[in-house]
Each structure stands twice: as C-alpha cells, then as structure tokens.
Point group: C2
Chain length 378, copies 2
C-alpha cells in the first residue's frame, strides 16, 4: 500500500471502513488507521481500545480520545501531509466534509480504488480461510434436498437453510460495498419469482417480503415442476464464497433444462479458458457469445436486460474485484478469487443457472465450491 501511495503522490491514507481496517490490521474495531507513504502505520482506536490492541499485530496502537486531536496526530506522524487518501466510495459526504475542515489546506483524494485493487490478490492465509468457508457452504447445500418440500413457503426454506449455515458459524450477514446495498445470506426464489427483476445490479432479484425489502425469499409456496434457485453466500471467519444451485421437485420444462445446461457449459468454458493475464472483459463477451449462439441471449443475465457482468471477485466483501464485465478490460490475476454466475431468466417460469467460486491459479481455475452443477431433482 505504501508503494502505491508513493506512486500516486499521496502522503498518507486514513483507512476507516471496517472491512479495510480488518484487512490491514486484523481488527474491525472503530478506529482510524493512519498509513504514511513511508514509515510505520498508526492505529488510533475510538472503541474498543482493549479489543483492538488484543486483535492487531500492529505495534503502534493508541486510543483516540477525541476526533479533534486527529489533525495534530496525523500532521505529526506524517509530516503535515499535503494529499490525504480517504475511502470516498463509502465514506459519507458529511464525514468527508468534516475531514476537509479538520485538514484545512490538505487535498483529500480517493484511495478506495487502490485498496480494492490491492485486495484482488489473496494471500495463502486468505485462500485457506476461503477454502474452509467453501467447505461449510458445501455442507449447507448438501442438506437442502432434505429441507425442500412441496408447499413450503420460500421464507420457510430460507429460514431452515439459514439456520444450518448459522450453526456452522455463518455471520448472518454478507458484507456488500456501496450505498443502499444490503444483503443477508442471498437469494432464494421459486417459480416465476426467480425472474422478477432486481432493483440493483444482480442477475436475480426476487419479490421478497414486500416493497420495503424487495428481494430474495417471500411468502410464495413452492410447487412441483418449477425451479427453486438458491443463491446464498457462505461467510465464515470474515471470508465469502458465493454459490448457486437449482432444485426442483419433479422434472422441469425442457426449455429450462436446456438453458441450465447452457449455463453450466458457459461456466465450464470460462473455467477452461481463464488464465492469469487474460482480459476479464473478453471472458464476459465470450459468455455473451455462447448464450447468443445457443439462441438464449434474450434471457441471459436478465430478461430483455443484460447485466454487465457474469463474474465478480469475492473476499471480505461480496462485490470485490475483479469483474468479468463489460468495461473491465484488466488482466485476470493469479491468486484472485472469483464467482462466476451465468444465469437465465424466463418471465413467468423462473431462473436457472449456476454459480461457483473459483481460485485463479497459473494453471487455470480451481473450483472451490465443487459439487454437482446439474439441476437437483428431488
């Protein structure tokens, strides 16, 4: 991070968001992490100081008695920085304007891109936690066929799946970066609900429990011969895996079966081709091409609307980089972790498709959530 700060001519970064704090320090307590472009970082803890000091390996940890003392401490520690980096994609405007007054004369710049880019490459320790997260996630999905019953409401299925995950240590919440974004475990939808469009940029939305929470499971009763799509995250020890499977009680209409087959083929094609150095955007366009050649373009990643991505990084947040997306013309990077989610939406019928989380290695993609990708007929 310090190299990148130097390269961008930023004298110091102030890290505030809890996931980034955890990433750099090992603690998510309420704190300011001061990272000068050279020299030791300094962790200023508001609350709770005792917990932060216990959790972090950083040497320089102090209690921040009052936010008003921040300029003196930072100016002293970072030789009166002229350019200060903040996470401006998540820091509220009010806080930003407050820091602007506190650091009168300094230029405030956005370091969220720098931080997000740095987190693309996972360390060995992070990959190990993600593997463990995937193992628990697979254990949850293994139990779904025993839970799913004809006539149960979507929300009942959600309740029972969530309870299984929670007992294995799921956080009960999936950190999502950005304004107005909130998700708990993910999306469970049955039949036509699977094709109800979303208010945000995701392949599926769902009707939810009403207009105040317009996503995921609702009160609809699950019937036979319709797709039940379970797009839930595993979120254990801070790290996320993302996974989707389609279930059905009895057989599904041929159109849906065929589309699901195409989705799995698209995933397999990407997994087969992807190598570090390849353009992420090209992989997205190849997925689109495949769907078009299969005559299913109109249903791919939305109905009459094509989501601009087919894959996304996961880690401490669900929407990390890289993106397999239109406009993301960056090379795929070794040791990154991505979820690939080709899905088809059929209005009135529902959603089918697949999602798995992969580790990018020099030899190609390793599927971390490996289990049967087919429609699971009960």
């Amino acid at each position: 991070m310090q190299r990148k700060l130097q390269y961008q001519g930023i004298d110091c970064a102030i890290v505030l968001q809890s996931k980034a704090l955890f990433y750099y320090t090992g603690t998510a307590q309420n704190a300011h992490l001061i990272v000068p472009s050279q020299g030791d970082p300094l962790l200023l803890v508001k609350k709770d100081f005792g917990r932060a000091r216990e959790e972090t390996d950083l040497q320089n940890v102090r209690q921040l008695e009052s936010i008003k003392k921040l300029p003196d401490i930072v100016n002293d520690h970072c030789r009166t920085p002229a350019r200060i980096g903040l996470e401006m994609d998540v820091l509220p405007a009010k806080n930003y304007l407050y820091y602007q007054r506190l650091f009168d004369g300094a230029e405030l710049v956005d370091v969220s891109g720098l931080i997000r880019a740095q987190r693309i490459v996972k360390s060995v320790a992070e990959v190990n936690i993600i593997r463990e997260s995937a193992a628990r996630q697979l254990e949850v999905y293994r139990q779904i066929p025993d839970i799913l019953r004809e006539g149960m409401a979507e929300i009942e299925l959600a309740a029972e799946v969530e309870a299984k995950a929670r007992k294995l240590g799921h956080y009960g919440i999936t950190p999502l970066r950005g304004f107005n974004l909130a998700i708990f475990y993910g999306h469970i939808m049955s039949g036509e609900n699977g094709a109800v469009p979303s208010s945000f940029e995701g392949p599926t939305g769902g009707k939810g429990l009403g207009p105040a929470m317009p996503q995921s499971a609702g009160l609809r009763k699950i019937r036979a011969h319709e797709p039940v799509i379970v797009d839930y995250t595993g979120c254990y020890n801070g790290y996320i895996v993302d996974m989707t499977r389609v279930y059905s009680i009895g057989s599904l209409p041929e159109t849906l079966v065929k589309a699901h087959r195409v989705a799995v083929d698209i995933q397999d094609m990407i997994a087969e081709k992807a190598r570090p150095g390849m353009s992420c955007e090209k992989l997205y366009f190849q997925a689109l091409d495949y769907a078009e050649k299969a005559g299913l373009k109109r249903y791919f990643l939305g109905y009459n609307y094509t989501l601009p991505f087919v894959g996304h990084g996961v880690g401490l947040e669900l929407n990390e980089l890289p993106l397999l997306a239109r406009g993301y013309d960056q090379p795929l990077v070794d040791s990154s972790v991505i979820a690939i989610e080709p899905k088809f939406l059929f209005p009135g019928q529902g959603a089918v498709g697949i999602e798995n989380t992969f580790l990018v290695t020099e030899h190609g993609l390793e599927k971390l959530t490996a289990s049967n990708d087919e429609i699971i007929v009960i």
Copy 2:
C-alpha cells in the same frame, strides 16, 4: 417536507436512500425522488421501473435513462434550483462530488436531519404495522424458553431464534443508518460475553464469531446460572421493534438479580413520567440518577463507560430519532415510537437489563412489546 424545505430556503431535495425512498413513495427500488419546495414530486427510476410504478402512489414516475440527464430534468422540474438538499449523512463522498459536478453552480446542503426529524412522528398506518411487528416479535420470544438448553453454543441459540423469526416474515436484516453500521437480528450473548464492550455506540457488544465480525453470538457454550441476554429486533413489513429479555438456566447471582430489578424500575419510571413535551435529555439524566442512587452507576450502560443514551426511536431504521440522550434536549413528541433499554454490564459475569418498544401518546407511554419483564428462569 415541502414546508420544511421552504422554511430552510432549499429549492429542491433529491432523496436517494432506500428507506427514505420507501417512506415517501412506497417503493424502495433504485430511484431519485425529486421534491421541489413547491409543486409535484417526481420519481425518476433507474431499476426496476415496472416494480416502482406498481408500488408507488405517486403520479409522476419516469424511467431515468442516464444519470447524465438528471440536471436537465431537475432544472426543468424545479426551476433551476440554487440550493439542493441531499442525504449527506449516508450518501458517499464520491457520489456527493459527482452531484456537485452535475449541478455545477448550485449549493448542495444536507437534508438528512430534516428527513429524520419528519420520521419521528408515526402515522396511524405506521403504528399499525409496528403493532403487528411487535406481535410477531412477542411470538418469537415466547418460544425462546423452549429453545434454550444448557451446553448449546450461543450461535445455535441464535440460529434457532432467527429461524422462528424468519418463518414469521422477519427480513433477516435490521436497517441501521450510518457508516460502518451493520446488524442482522441483534445481540445474543451468554455469561461474561454479555459484558464484552462493543466497537459501536450500543449498551452491549458481545464477542461474536471472531475479530472480523466482533459482535453478538459466538461459539461459547451456554451454562447454567449465568445471564443469557437476547436483544433482538423484530423487522416485519419494513418496521422495527426492539426488545431485550434475560434468560437463565437455574438461578442467577444476587448482584445480577438486583441489578435487573433496578433496570426494570428505571424503565418503569421513564414509562411512568414520559409525556409529550418533556425533555428527552432529562429522561436520560433521570435514568442515570436512579442507577447512581442504587449504587450501580459504574455498571450502567457499559462498564466504566456510560453510553450517552438509554433510549432511541425505531421505525424503518433501528437508530431513528428521538434519542433519550445526553445532548438531545428536544421535547418528546406524541405518536413517536421509542425503545428504552436500561442495562447493566458486569465484567466476567455478563449483562442484565430490559428493553421494550413504546408508543408515545398524550396519556403517556404504551408498551408495544408487553410481556414479562423479569429474568426468565428455565
């Protein structure tokens, strides 16, 4: 809202946060709500237009094709506003700076205080939803004594309580306003975990599942003769109630029993005294006085740290106004809904105390989550 905009000399407000959108329009789809200080509001929907139009009663609903068209539409609709209100306590700095460029020449001001103040008074329809939310919450708590067993992990108890709530339509998430704030159902802690301090401004914190999610239930096994504190929200049809009960398997040490009694007395005293027009801050100080006279000041609302509030508004968000807090010298208002939560923390032993959600009426407080306030011994 328009009266308040006029009074503050704001020509138009642009409402963006999903809870506020839902409050004013009935839909939480991704949209800009344009409220001129006079004349009709206009809802510009990014996604999903069909759902938004179906859900809202507003007449003026349009698809926003591109954010770049926003200045022309707003200038046309609001006669080129000189002062534009935004929700600057939640809108990220990056978005704020983008709007500043879009509306070059206009002054951007914060309307979050105005919106939060307006939401203090609940309508009859809102109170009815909150009553229904309370009824479901009571149904969940009624089942806790059947779930709680010696030797189960906190997270197992959490999983089973959450599943009950979810089946009754709980959202699985509790909207909290502010940076770095996230909560799912609330806090469940046993024994000494109940007194582990929090990273944020709340009476209890809990150890959680590790430093990446340092709050609420963890892996600790629940034992006999220790307090198990369940501070969970009900969140149904958009509206929240907040409630805490303490359970124990077998009897508790006398110190804790006495402190719980004092907590209930403090709650009852506030509920007895509170009337519209009274100072919210004074009610907070009276709670502090009561705790001090009982010789328990050191343990009240934190150990060796006194939380600056003993009550908070609830509604579409968990941390609404008013606050029964130091520095909140505002009169209590008829038809507001508040949660009152006097609690005591004993390091090494745990937390005891009570929380209920009340409706403020001209005759005093009506307890919406009325059930046994005592320690529930199993």
